[in-house]
Assembly symmetry: C2
Homo-oligomer: 233 residues x 2
Protein backbone atom coordinates (compact mmCIF):
# COMPACT_ATOMS: atom_id res chain seq x y z
CA UNK A 1 0.00 0.00 0.00
CA UNK A 2 1.22 3.48 -0.77
CA UNK A 3 0.23 6.82 0.67
CA UNK A 4 0.24 8.72 -2.56
CA UNK A 5 -2.30 11.41 -3.33
CA UNK A 6 -4.47 11.00 -6.40
CA UNK A 7 -7.03 13.11 -8.21
CA UNK A 8 -10.02 11.08 -9.37
CA UNK A 9 -12.39 12.48 -11.99
CA UNK A 10 -15.79 11.58 -10.59
CA UNK A 11 -18.96 12.17 -12.57
CA UNK A 12 -21.11 10.17 -10.21
CA UNK A 13 -21.62 7.49 -12.85
CA UNK A 14 -20.97 3.78 -12.84
CA UNK A 15 -17.56 4.00 -14.49
CA UNK A 16 -15.99 6.78 -12.44
CA UNK A 17 -17.31 5.34 -9.17
CA UNK A 18 -15.67 2.03 -10.03
CA UNK A 19 -12.46 3.94 -10.74
CA UNK A 20 -12.64 5.60 -7.31
CA UNK A 21 -13.02 2.17 -5.68
CA UNK A 22 -10.03 0.89 -7.67
CA UNK A 23 -7.84 3.88 -6.73
CA UNK A 24 -8.72 3.46 -3.05
CA UNK A 25 -8.05 -0.28 -3.22
CA UNK A 26 -4.56 0.57 -4.51
CA UNK A 27 -3.95 2.69 -1.42
CA UNK A 28 -4.24 6.16 -2.95
CA UNK A 29 -5.58 8.99 -0.85
CA UNK A 30 -8.27 10.24 -3.21
CA UNK A 31 -9.30 13.81 -4.01
CA UNK A 32 -12.35 13.82 -6.25
CA UNK A 33 -13.10 16.35 -8.95
CA UNK A 34 -16.54 16.89 -10.49
CA UNK A 35 -17.79 19.50 -12.91
CA UNK A 36 -20.83 21.63 -13.32
CA UNK A 37 -20.73 22.30 -17.04
CA UNK A 38 -24.32 23.03 -17.90
CA UNK A 39 -25.16 19.35 -18.29
CA UNK A 40 -28.80 18.27 -18.34
CA UNK A 41 -27.99 15.51 -15.89
CA UNK A 42 -27.11 17.73 -12.87
CA UNK A 43 -28.50 14.96 -10.68
CA UNK A 44 -25.11 13.27 -11.17
CA UNK A 45 -23.42 15.96 -9.03
CA UNK A 46 -25.66 15.12 -6.09
CA UNK A 47 -24.77 11.47 -6.62
CA UNK A 48 -21.08 12.37 -6.78
CA UNK A 49 -21.43 14.14 -3.41
CA UNK A 50 -23.06 11.10 -1.84
CA UNK A 51 -20.42 8.79 -3.29
CA UNK A 52 -17.62 10.97 -1.87
CA UNK A 53 -19.30 10.80 1.53
CA UNK A 54 -19.67 7.04 1.23
CA UNK A 55 -16.00 6.61 0.39
CA UNK A 56 -14.75 9.22 2.85
CA UNK A 57 -12.68 10.97 0.19
CA UNK A 58 -10.21 13.60 1.36
CA UNK A 59 -11.76 16.42 -0.60
CA UNK A 60 -14.46 16.81 -3.25
CA UNK A 61 -14.09 19.83 -5.50
CA UNK A 62 -16.88 20.79 -7.91
CA UNK A 63 -15.64 23.22 -10.54
CA UNK A 64 -17.71 25.23 -12.96
CA UNK A 65 -16.77 24.85 -16.60
CA UNK A 66 -18.39 27.21 -19.07
CA UNK A 67 -19.28 24.57 -21.67
CA UNK A 68 -22.78 25.99 -21.85
CA UNK A 69 -21.36 29.30 -23.12
CA UNK A 70 -19.37 27.38 -25.70
CA UNK A 71 -22.33 25.20 -26.71
CA UNK A 72 -22.42 22.50 -29.32
CA UNK A 73 -23.62 19.32 -27.63
CA UNK A 74 -26.89 17.59 -26.90
CA UNK A 75 -25.64 17.23 -23.32
CA UNK A 76 -25.53 20.98 -22.76
CA UNK A 77 -28.29 22.25 -25.06
CA UNK A 78 -31.92 21.52 -25.85
CA UNK A 79 -30.83 19.28 -28.73
CA UNK A 80 -32.49 15.86 -28.43
CA UNK A 81 -30.58 12.97 -26.85
CA UNK A 82 -30.84 9.90 -29.12
CA UNK A 83 -33.00 7.07 -27.76
CA UNK A 84 -33.27 3.35 -28.41
CA UNK A 85 -30.20 3.27 -30.64
CA UNK A 86 -29.12 -0.26 -31.62
CA UNK A 87 -25.84 -1.23 -29.94
CA UNK A 88 -24.04 -1.71 -33.23
CA UNK A 89 -24.90 1.86 -34.26
CA UNK A 90 -23.18 3.32 -31.20
CA UNK A 91 -19.73 2.38 -32.47
CA UNK A 92 -20.26 3.66 -35.98
CA UNK A 93 -20.30 7.38 -35.53
CA UNK A 94 -19.61 10.18 -33.08
CA UNK A 95 -23.00 10.93 -31.47
CA UNK A 96 -24.65 14.31 -30.78
CA UNK A 97 -23.94 13.73 -27.09
CA UNK A 98 -20.25 14.26 -27.87
CA UNK A 99 -19.18 17.42 -26.02
CA UNK A 100 -16.35 19.08 -27.96
CA UNK A 101 -13.19 18.93 -25.90
CA UNK A 102 -14.91 17.77 -22.72
CA UNK A 103 -12.40 15.20 -21.53
CA UNK A 104 -9.55 17.51 -22.52
CA UNK A 105 -11.06 20.24 -20.36
CA UNK A 106 -11.74 17.87 -17.47
CA UNK A 107 -8.22 16.46 -17.59
CA UNK A 108 -6.73 19.95 -17.82
CA UNK A 109 -8.52 20.95 -14.60
CA UNK A 110 -7.47 17.71 -12.90
CA UNK A 111 -3.90 18.34 -13.95
CA UNK A 112 -3.93 21.86 -12.59
CA UNK A 113 -5.40 20.75 -9.25
CA UNK A 114 -2.99 17.80 -8.99
CA UNK A 115 -0.04 20.07 -9.62
CA UNK A 116 -1.17 22.55 -6.97
CA UNK A 117 -1.48 19.86 -4.32
CA UNK A 118 1.60 17.91 -5.37
CA UNK A 119 -0.27 14.82 -6.54
CA UNK A 120 1.25 12.88 -9.43
CA UNK A 121 -1.57 10.45 -10.15
CA UNK A 122 -4.79 11.16 -12.00
CA UNK A 123 -7.53 8.55 -12.39
CA UNK A 124 -10.33 8.64 -14.92
CA UNK A 125 -12.99 6.27 -16.15
CA UNK A 126 -12.63 6.49 -19.91
CA UNK A 127 -13.36 3.34 -21.80
CA UNK A 128 -12.50 2.42 -25.37
CA UNK A 129 -14.78 -0.63 -25.63
CA UNK A 130 -18.25 0.77 -25.00
CA UNK A 131 -17.03 4.24 -25.77
CA UNK A 132 -19.88 5.22 -28.03
CA UNK A 133 -17.52 6.71 -30.61
CA UNK A 134 -15.92 9.43 -28.47
CA UNK A 135 -12.41 10.30 -29.74
CA UNK A 136 -11.35 11.46 -26.26
CA UNK A 137 -11.89 8.00 -24.77
CA UNK A 138 -9.13 6.26 -26.70
CA UNK A 139 -5.75 5.10 -25.37
CA UNK A 140 -3.78 7.04 -28.00
CA UNK A 141 -5.53 10.22 -26.89
CA UNK A 142 -4.67 9.62 -23.24
CA UNK A 143 -1.03 8.87 -24.08
CA UNK A 144 -0.82 12.14 -26.03
CA UNK A 145 -2.42 14.04 -23.15
CA UNK A 146 0.13 12.62 -20.71
CA UNK A 147 3.00 13.62 -22.96
CA UNK A 148 1.62 17.14 -23.32
CA UNK A 149 1.02 17.41 -19.56
CA UNK A 150 4.57 16.43 -18.74
CA UNK A 151 5.97 19.02 -21.15
CA UNK A 152 3.63 21.82 -20.10
CA UNK A 153 3.80 21.78 -16.31
CA UNK A 154 6.39 22.69 -13.73
CA UNK A 155 6.00 19.25 -12.10
CA UNK A 156 6.49 17.50 -15.42
CA UNK A 157 9.61 19.38 -16.44
CA UNK A 158 11.20 19.21 -12.98
CA UNK A 159 11.15 15.43 -12.69
CA UNK A 160 7.80 14.71 -11.04
CA UNK A 161 5.85 13.41 -14.04
CA UNK A 162 2.14 12.83 -13.95
CA UNK A 163 0.71 9.36 -14.36
CA UNK A 164 -2.72 8.95 -15.87
CA UNK A 165 -4.63 5.85 -14.84
CA UNK A 166 -7.54 4.65 -16.94
CA UNK A 167 -8.15 1.23 -15.38
CA UNK A 168 -11.37 0.67 -17.36
CA UNK A 169 -9.87 1.50 -20.73
CA UNK A 170 -10.04 -2.00 -22.14
CA UNK A 171 -12.84 -3.51 -20.06
CA UNK A 172 -16.35 -4.26 -21.28
CA UNK A 173 -19.25 -2.86 -19.24
CA UNK A 174 -19.81 -6.36 -17.86
CA UNK A 175 -16.18 -6.58 -16.73
CA UNK A 176 -16.35 -3.10 -15.16
CA UNK A 177 -19.45 -4.06 -13.17
CA UNK A 178 -17.92 -7.35 -12.02
CA UNK A 179 -14.73 -5.52 -11.00
CA UNK A 180 -16.76 -2.99 -9.03
CA UNK A 181 -18.93 -5.62 -7.37
CA UNK A 182 -15.76 -7.44 -6.25
CA UNK A 183 -14.68 -4.15 -4.60
CA UNK A 184 -18.08 -3.74 -2.97
CA UNK A 185 -19.34 -0.81 -5.06
CA UNK A 186 -22.99 0.03 -4.42
CA UNK A 187 -24.17 0.88 -7.92
CA UNK A 188 -27.44 2.11 -6.49
CA UNK A 189 -25.52 5.27 -5.58
CA UNK A 190 -24.48 5.94 -9.18
CA UNK A 191 -26.12 7.71 -12.09
CA UNK A 192 -25.26 7.25 -15.77
CA UNK A 193 -28.24 8.59 -17.75
CA UNK A 194 -27.90 11.41 -20.31
CA UNK A 195 -31.54 12.42 -20.03
CA UNK A 196 -32.91 11.61 -16.59
CA UNK A 197 -36.52 12.18 -15.49
CA UNK A 198 -36.11 13.59 -11.99
CA UNK A 199 -34.15 11.00 -10.07
CA UNK A 200 -34.89 8.22 -12.55
CA UNK A 201 -32.69 7.14 -15.46
CA UNK A 202 -34.50 7.12 -18.82
CA UNK A 203 -33.40 3.60 -19.78
CA UNK A 204 -33.28 4.56 -23.46
CA UNK A 205 -30.20 6.74 -24.10
CA UNK A 206 -26.89 5.15 -25.10
CA UNK A 207 -25.54 5.37 -21.54
CA UNK A 208 -28.57 3.64 -20.03
CA UNK A 209 -28.69 0.95 -22.69
CA UNK A 210 -24.99 0.11 -22.35
CA UNK A 211 -25.33 0.02 -18.57
CA UNK A 212 -28.43 -2.17 -18.53
CA UNK A 213 -26.87 -4.54 -21.05
CA UNK A 214 -23.73 -4.68 -18.89
CA UNK A 215 -25.69 -5.75 -15.82
CA UNK A 216 -27.56 -8.31 -17.91
CA UNK A 217 -24.28 -9.72 -19.30
CA UNK A 218 -22.89 -9.87 -15.75
CA UNK A 219 -25.95 -11.81 -14.61
CA UNK A 220 -26.87 -9.05 -12.16
CA UNK A 221 -29.73 -6.65 -11.63
CA UNK A 222 -29.06 -2.90 -11.84
CA UNK A 223 -30.11 -1.40 -8.48
CA UNK A 224 -30.60 2.10 -9.98
CA UNK A 225 -34.09 3.49 -10.63
CA UNK A 226 -35.27 3.60 -14.24
CA UNK A 227 -38.29 4.80 -16.18
CA UNK A 228 -37.90 1.63 -18.23
CA UNK A 229 -35.42 -1.22 -18.09
CA UNK A 230 -36.62 -2.72 -21.37
CA UNK A 231 -33.69 -2.57 -23.80
CA UNK A 232 -35.21 -5.02 -26.30
CA UNK A 233 -36.39 -2.15 -28.53
CA UNK B 1 -6.41 36.48 -48.20
CA UNK B 2 -8.49 33.67 -46.83
CA UNK B 3 -11.87 33.73 -45.11
CA UNK B 4 -11.07 31.19 -42.47
CA UNK B 5 -12.32 31.50 -38.93
CA UNK B 6 -9.80 31.64 -36.11
CA UNK B 7 -9.96 31.65 -32.34
CA UNK B 8 -7.48 34.12 -30.81
CA UNK B 9 -6.58 33.86 -27.14
CA UNK B 10 -6.65 37.48 -26.02
CA UNK B 11 -5.54 38.50 -22.55
CA UNK B 12 -5.52 42.20 -23.38
CA UNK B 13 -1.76 42.32 -23.11
CA UNK B 14 0.91 43.41 -25.54
CA UNK B 15 1.66 39.94 -26.88
CA UNK B 16 -1.87 38.68 -27.50
CA UNK B 17 -2.95 42.01 -29.04
CA UNK B 18 -0.05 41.75 -31.47
CA UNK B 19 -1.18 38.21 -32.27
CA UNK B 20 -4.70 39.45 -33.00
CA UNK B 21 -3.27 42.05 -35.40
CA UNK B 22 -1.18 39.35 -37.09
CA UNK B 23 -4.15 36.97 -37.45
CA UNK B 24 -6.28 39.74 -38.96
CA UNK B 25 -3.47 40.75 -41.33
CA UNK B 26 -3.46 37.15 -42.57
CA UNK B 27 -7.14 37.44 -43.42
CA UNK B 28 -8.60 35.36 -40.61
CA UNK B 29 -12.02 36.25 -39.25
CA UNK B 30 -11.16 36.44 -35.57
CA UNK B 31 -13.14 35.26 -32.58
CA UNK B 32 -11.45 36.30 -29.37
CA UNK B 33 -11.43 34.35 -26.14
CA UNK B 34 -10.57 35.82 -22.74
CA UNK B 35 -10.76 34.34 -19.28
CA UNK B 36 -11.85 35.46 -15.88
CA UNK B 37 -9.83 33.13 -13.70
CA UNK B 38 -9.55 34.99 -10.44
CA UNK B 39 -6.55 36.97 -11.64
CA UNK B 40 -5.48 40.07 -9.74
CA UNK B 41 -5.17 41.94 -13.00
CA UNK B 42 -8.88 41.96 -13.96
CA UNK B 43 -8.24 45.33 -15.60
CA UNK B 44 -6.90 43.29 -18.52
CA UNK B 45 -10.42 42.04 -19.33
CA UNK B 46 -11.65 45.59 -19.74
CA UNK B 47 -8.69 46.22 -22.03
CA UNK B 48 -9.48 43.04 -23.97
CA UNK B 49 -13.03 44.33 -24.50
CA UNK B 50 -11.77 47.66 -25.81
CA UNK B 51 -9.26 45.93 -28.08
CA UNK B 52 -12.00 43.70 -29.54
CA UNK B 53 -14.08 46.80 -30.23
CA UNK B 54 -11.10 48.52 -31.83
CA UNK B 55 -10.45 45.56 -34.12
CA UNK B 56 -14.12 44.82 -34.82
CA UNK B 57 -13.72 41.17 -33.95
CA UNK B 58 -16.60 38.86 -34.82
CA UNK B 59 -17.21 37.74 -31.25
CA UNK B 60 -15.53 38.15 -27.87
CA UNK B 61 -16.25 35.41 -25.37
CA UNK B 62 -15.14 35.77 -21.75
CA UNK B 63 -15.22 32.44 -19.96
CA UNK B 64 -14.93 31.81 -16.25
CA UNK B 65 -12.26 29.36 -15.23
CA UNK B 66 -12.20 28.23 -11.63
CA UNK B 67 -8.45 28.62 -11.10
CA UNK B 68 -9.15 30.50 -7.87
CA UNK B 69 -10.80 27.37 -6.42
CA UNK B 70 -7.78 25.36 -7.49
CA UNK B 71 -5.32 27.91 -6.11
CA UNK B 72 -1.55 27.76 -6.17
CA UNK B 73 -0.27 30.89 -7.92
CA UNK B 74 0.71 34.42 -7.00
CA UNK B 75 -1.52 35.55 -9.88
CA UNK B 76 -4.65 34.15 -8.23
CA UNK B 77 -3.84 34.43 -4.51
CA UNK B 78 -2.54 36.98 -2.07
CA UNK B 79 0.99 35.61 -2.53
CA UNK B 80 3.38 38.44 -3.39
CA UNK B 81 4.30 39.12 -7.02
CA UNK B 82 8.11 39.42 -7.32
CA UNK B 83 9.36 42.92 -8.07
CA UNK B 84 12.56 44.38 -9.52
CA UNK B 85 13.95 40.98 -10.51
CA UNK B 86 17.10 41.17 -12.63
CA UNK B 87 16.47 40.07 -16.23
CA UNK B 88 18.93 37.19 -16.04
CA UNK B 89 17.10 35.76 -13.00
CA UNK B 90 13.82 35.50 -14.96
CA UNK B 91 15.13 32.69 -17.15
CA UNK B 92 16.63 30.67 -14.34
CA UNK B 93 13.62 29.34 -12.53
CA UNK B 94 9.88 28.94 -12.74
CA UNK B 95 8.46 31.95 -10.86
CA UNK B 96 5.62 32.10 -8.30
CA UNK B 97 3.48 33.78 -10.95
CA UNK B 98 3.39 30.43 -12.77
CA UNK B 99 -0.25 29.31 -12.74
CA UNK B 100 -0.36 25.49 -12.79
CA UNK B 101 -1.85 24.33 -16.06
CA UNK B 102 -3.02 27.77 -17.13
CA UNK B 103 -2.11 27.67 -20.80
CA UNK B 104 -3.31 24.08 -21.00
CA UNK B 105 -6.69 25.16 -19.63
CA UNK B 106 -6.86 28.19 -21.91
CA UNK B 107 -5.97 26.15 -24.97
CA UNK B 108 -8.46 23.44 -24.01
CA UNK B 109 -11.27 26.04 -23.91
CA UNK B 110 -10.11 27.55 -27.21
CA UNK B 111 -10.09 24.10 -28.76
CA UNK B 112 -13.59 23.35 -27.56
CA UNK B 113 -14.95 26.67 -28.88
CA UNK B 114 -13.11 26.30 -32.18
CA UNK B 115 -14.55 22.83 -32.67
CA UNK B 116 -18.08 24.01 -31.93
CA UNK B 117 -17.89 26.79 -34.51
CA UNK B 118 -15.95 24.80 -37.10
CA UNK B 119 -12.77 26.88 -36.86
CA UNK B 120 -9.49 25.04 -37.45
CA UNK B 121 -7.04 27.76 -36.46
CA UNK B 122 -6.10 28.84 -32.96
CA UNK B 123 -3.74 31.75 -32.30
CA UNK B 124 -1.91 32.43 -29.06
CA UNK B 125 0.81 34.74 -27.90
CA UNK B 126 3.19 32.39 -26.12
CA UNK B 127 6.83 33.27 -26.34
CA UNK B 128 9.85 31.13 -25.58
CA UNK B 129 12.40 33.96 -25.54
CA UNK B 130 11.19 36.27 -22.77
CA UNK B 131 9.06 33.51 -21.36
CA UNK B 132 10.06 33.95 -17.74
CA UNK B 133 10.57 30.22 -17.26
CA UNK B 134 7.04 29.00 -17.96
CA UNK B 135 7.04 25.39 -19.20
CA UNK B 136 3.77 25.95 -21.09
CA UNK B 137 5.33 28.63 -23.31
CA UNK B 138 7.73 26.33 -25.13
CA UNK B 139 7.45 25.05 -28.71
CA UNK B 140 7.69 21.38 -27.67
CA UNK B 141 4.73 21.90 -25.35
CA UNK B 142 2.64 23.45 -28.13
CA UNK B 143 3.52 20.65 -30.56
CA UNK B 144 2.44 18.08 -27.97
CA UNK B 145 -0.80 19.98 -27.34
CA UNK B 146 -1.57 20.00 -31.07
CA UNK B 147 -0.99 16.28 -31.33
CA UNK B 148 -3.23 15.60 -28.34
CA UNK B 149 -5.93 17.92 -29.72
CA UNK B 150 -6.00 16.17 -33.05
CA UNK B 151 -6.35 12.77 -31.41
CA UNK B 152 -8.96 13.84 -28.86
CA UNK B 153 -11.51 15.75 -30.93
CA UNK B 154 -14.08 14.82 -33.54
CA UNK B 155 -12.66 17.43 -35.91
CA UNK B 156 -9.15 16.07 -35.48
CA UNK B 157 -10.05 12.43 -36.10
CA UNK B 158 -12.36 13.19 -39.02
CA UNK B 159 -9.79 14.98 -41.13
CA UNK B 160 -10.17 18.62 -40.08
CA UNK B 161 -7.05 19.00 -37.93
CA UNK B 162 -6.44 22.02 -35.76
CA UNK B 163 -3.53 24.32 -36.45
CA UNK B 164 -1.98 26.21 -33.57
CA UNK B 165 -0.29 29.48 -34.45
CA UNK B 166 2.20 31.01 -32.05
CA UNK B 167 3.69 33.73 -34.25
CA UNK B 168 5.64 35.29 -31.36
CA UNK B 169 7.22 32.04 -30.21
CA UNK B 170 10.74 32.91 -31.25
CA UNK B 171 10.62 36.72 -31.21
CA UNK B 172 12.21 38.97 -28.62
CA UNK B 173 10.01 41.58 -26.96
CA UNK B 174 11.65 44.21 -29.15
CA UNK B 175 10.82 42.25 -32.30
CA UNK B 176 7.22 41.72 -31.14
CA UNK B 177 6.78 45.45 -30.57
CA UNK B 178 8.30 46.33 -33.94
CA UNK B 179 6.07 43.76 -35.63
CA UNK B 180 3.01 45.21 -33.92
CA UNK B 181 3.93 48.81 -34.70
CA UNK B 182 4.31 47.84 -38.37
CA UNK B 183 0.73 46.53 -38.21
CA UNK B 184 -0.48 49.71 -36.51
CA UNK B 185 -1.11 48.28 -33.05
CA UNK B 186 -1.94 50.94 -30.45
CA UNK B 187 -0.10 49.60 -27.41
CA UNK B 188 -1.76 52.23 -25.26
CA UNK B 189 -4.80 49.94 -25.35
CA UNK B 190 -2.93 47.00 -23.87
CA UNK B 191 -2.15 45.90 -20.34
CA UNK B 192 0.64 43.53 -19.29
CA UNK B 193 1.19 44.09 -15.56
CA UNK B 194 0.83 41.28 -13.00
CA UNK B 195 0.14 43.67 -10.15
CA UNK B 196 -1.53 46.85 -11.39
CA UNK B 197 -2.44 49.83 -9.21
CA UNK B 198 -5.88 50.77 -10.51
CA UNK B 199 -5.42 51.46 -14.20
CA UNK B 200 -1.65 51.86 -13.92
CA UNK B 201 0.98 49.19 -14.50
CA UNK B 202 3.37 48.75 -11.57
CA UNK B 203 6.54 48.94 -13.68
CA UNK B 204 8.32 46.49 -11.39
CA UNK B 205 6.97 42.96 -11.99
CA UNK B 206 8.60 40.67 -14.57
CA UNK B 207 5.93 41.46 -17.18
CA UNK B 208 6.37 45.24 -16.81
CA UNK B 209 10.14 45.07 -16.81
CA UNK B 210 10.28 42.89 -19.93
CA UNK B 211 7.82 45.17 -21.67
CA UNK B 212 9.58 48.42 -20.76
CA UNK B 213 12.94 46.96 -21.79
CA UNK B 214 11.38 45.85 -25.09
CA UNK B 215 10.20 49.36 -25.90
CA UNK B 216 13.61 50.72 -24.93
CA UNK B 217 15.35 48.18 -27.19
CA UNK B 218 12.98 49.11 -30.02
CA UNK B 219 13.82 52.79 -29.54
CA UNK B 220 10.21 53.57 -28.72
CA UNK B 221 8.28 54.94 -25.77
CA UNK B 222 5.63 52.73 -24.13
CA UNK B 223 2.30 54.63 -24.33
CA UNK B 224 0.82 52.70 -21.37
CA UNK B 225 0.45 54.30 -17.94
CA UNK B 226 2.91 53.22 -15.24
CA UNK B 227 3.52 53.90 -11.59
CA UNK B 228 7.21 53.89 -12.50
CA UNK B 229 9.06 53.37 -15.76
CA UNK B 230 12.44 53.13 -14.05
CA UNK B 231 13.82 49.64 -14.73
CA UNK B 232 17.38 50.48 -13.74
CA UNK B 233 16.89 48.91 -10.28
Amino acid sequence: MNEQQAVVLLSGGLDSTTVLAIAQSQGFTCHCLSFQYGQRQVVELERARRICGHYGVQRHLILRVDLGAIGGSALTTEQEVPKDRPFDAMDQEIPVTYVPGRNILFLAHALSWAEVMGASDIFLGINAVDYSGYPDCRPEFLAAFAQMANLGTKAGVTGRPFHFHAPLLRLSKKEIILRGKALGVDYGLTHSCYDPVGDLACGRCDACRLRLQGFRDAGLSDPAGYVTKDISR
